[in-house]
């Protein structure tokens, strides 16, 4: 494998600036890595011609001094972001052949800063899943395997392609989206970093909607500084998204500091769930020790409604999804299944039956049920009231601390088919869903390995708009953990 693959974005920028290598060489090295690792199924669509053309433009810009901050940096874009002229499917059969006529705001910002798109990354269908097993384009494999094992593992989800490609060095970084943990959990499963900013920081325009009150884009990359750099470019007000926040975007990378003197780190006691893996519990304690050593004070806090976050989420997210996914009706875009001699309704039903996978259908059904006459108040309104209580729990906690530290997921990556029961799969999001409901910035940072050598992540949750505080605590964890483990990909051949 080329020396140019696996570098941090910071190192790539320095190398490009010093003319140690060109953007074209960087792109070619990554395209070769991508081709050699096709068995991971991380990409839904590869765009090598676009990548080389963008790399040549980046080289020209680097030569004449007009280069953007991401000039020549090879990225993957989750296939939930509309990309002009490049098929965008949300990993669903119903959007097969959909070629957007426009670019999502976030991917447009990255490309505008000079980034080189290598292709579109696989995900759970419409971002609904925690293991990347629901993709119509097939499951994504993690580049990791447990020590001494030949069993393939999930990369987490829904941003499984982003995670797998990042960990395997196929991309320098990737976009993810996070509705209930879809950036943080896969980042933890493959040993990379990922941050979901405050709801409203990144424009949702052009991002295929799952649950609109929760969906947020964010970066996934191999270190905290790279996440800060990508996040900087991705954030910003957008008049085309009415929930976009019109607030200044700080220079996250410039202000990055692992010095936590004067900061208070909260430990929510409700996250010590019964039966929590002993290694994860110990790593959490270790993480608290690292933050203390970086100058922080550790305080105990309580988030009393934590246990109700998952049930509230599994009402609110499907309710919004059932409404958002009503647009896939075989009329304006995507696939249509004609019913000879049938009515318009017959066409809708046949199209949606053939186009959606089992998990998406389940969520549409749950969402339709909880929004239907007679059940709306008991389910949907009650879930929204509980959401208020969950947000208030965080507000109270942040009266006595600046950030919270928790595990990212209750386990390391698992095998395909290990969580066939939908409810058991949902429980994997137990630590990430509450902060999603409250709209808070949260990130996962690789912190250690399980007993059988698989990555484990710690999660930092911050106050609204305090991405800087989250990134800084993340940097302190990263430095103290010294996590340098990379997957041994000999099993891939290549």
């Amino acid at each position: 494998m080329s020396d140019l693959v696996g570098l941090s974005i910071g190192r790539m920028k320095a190398g490009l600036a010093a003319r140690d290598f060109s953007a074209r060489e960087l792109a070619e090295a990554h395209l070769a890595a991508m081709a050699a690792a096709r068995a991971l199924n991380a990409f839904v669509t590869e765009t090598p011609e676009l990548a080389l053309a963008a790399a040549d433009l980046a080289d020209a810009a680097l030569a004449d001094g007009s280069a953007g901050v991401l000039a020549g940096i090879p990225l993957g874009i989750k296939d939930l972001f509309c990309t002009k002229g490049v098929e965008t499917t949300a990993a669903s059969a119903i959007l097969k052949g959909f070629v957007p006529e426009y670019e999502s705001t976030v991917s447009g910002k990255l490309l505008g800063a000079g980034a080189v798109m290598l292709g579109k990354l696989n995900l759970d269908e419409f971002a609904m899943g925690s293991s990347n097993e629901t993709s119509a384009a097939g499951r994504v494999l993690s580049p990791w395997r447990a020590a001494g094992s030949v069993v393939s593992l999930v990369p987490g989800g829904s941003s499984g392609g982003s995670a797998s490609a990042g960990a395997a060095g196929l991309v320098a970084g990737a976009t993810g989206t996070d509705t209930g943990g879809s950036i943080r959990q896969p980042a933890a499963f493959v040993g990379i970093a990922g941050i979901k900013p405050t709801y409203g920081r990144c424009s949702r325009w052009g991002v295929i909607a799952f649950a609109s009150s929760l969906d947020q884009a964010g970066p996934m990359a191999r270190d905290v500084a790279d996440c800060a750099l990508l996040l900087q470019v991705m954030c910003g007000h957008d008049a085309k998204d009415t929930t976009s926040l019109n607030v200044p975007v700080p220079d996250f990378a410039a202000a990055l500091s692992g010095d936590l003197r004067g900061r208070r780190v909260g430990v929510p006691k409700e996250y010590r769930i019964e039966g929590l893996d002993g290694r994860i519990s110990a790593l959490w304690d270790e993480g608290l020790g690292w933050l203390k050593a970086a100058g922080a004070e550790i305080v105990d806090v309580s988030l009393p409604h934590t246990k109700y976050a998952l049930p509230a989420y599994y009402i609110i997210a499907p309710a919004e999804a059932s409404s958002n996914l009503a647009r896939y009706d075989g009329v304006r875009f995507g696939q249509r299944v004609p019913v000879p001699g049938g009515t318009l309704n017959d066409m809708y039903e046949a199209t949606r039956a053939a186009g959606f996978g089992a998990e998406v259908k389940r969520r549409i059904m749950i969402g339709t049920y909880v929004l239907s006459a007679g059940f709306y108040d008991a389910y949907y309104t009650q879930a929204q009231r509980v959401r208020t209580l969950i947000a208030q729990d965080f507000e109270r906690a942040f009266e006595v601390c600046d950030v919270l530290l928790t595990p990212t997921a209750p386990s390391a990556a698992f095998a395909f088919g290990a969580k066939a029961d939908p409810l058991e799969m949902y429980l994997n999001d137990v630590f990430t869903v509450p902060s999603s409901l409250a709209g808070l910035p949260a990130m996962s940072v690789p912190a250690g390995l399980s007993a059988d050598g698989l990555p484990l992540g710690l999660q930092i949750i911050g106050r609204p708009l305090d991405e800087q505080g989250v990134l800084n605590a993340g940097l302190a964890i990263e430095r103290a953990a010294g996590f340098v483990a990379r997957p041994d990909m000999a099993w891939l051949g290549g």
Binding site: Y314, A353, I366
Partner: protein, 95 residues
């Protein structure tokens, strides 16, 4: 709450989702389990608590009442499974 087959068919109809009989039975079991799980929300006292519909409540955003877009009919129709004479085409709905 246990969801029966008739309810599954009714909900599928509301969602315009074609389901065959094998799917109806599977969905009845899965929906019952998921609804059984979320029903624990009923034990939370939410008297006087406002429902949270948005993360950052703020005044609605107004834009100027001016034409800011348009004239892109071809782009709008570019991905349509069927388009005729500048319109989306669907199966006949008027007898």
């Amino acid at each position: 709450m246990a969801v029966d087959a008739a309810t599954v068919r009714k909900i599928a109809r509301l969602a315009r989702l074609g389901v065959d009989e094998a799917e109806v039975l599977a969905l009845a079991g899965e929906l019952s389990a998921i609804l059984g799980f979320v029903e624990q929300l009923g034990e939370v006292d939410t008297a006087g608590v406002m429902p949270m519909a948005a993360v950052s409540p703020k005044a609605h955003v107004w834009r100027g009442d001016v034409v800011s877009d348009g004239g892109v009919r071809e782009a709008v129709l570019a991905n349509a499974p069927d388009a005729v004479a500048g319109f989306f085409a669907v199966p006949k709905v008027i007898e």
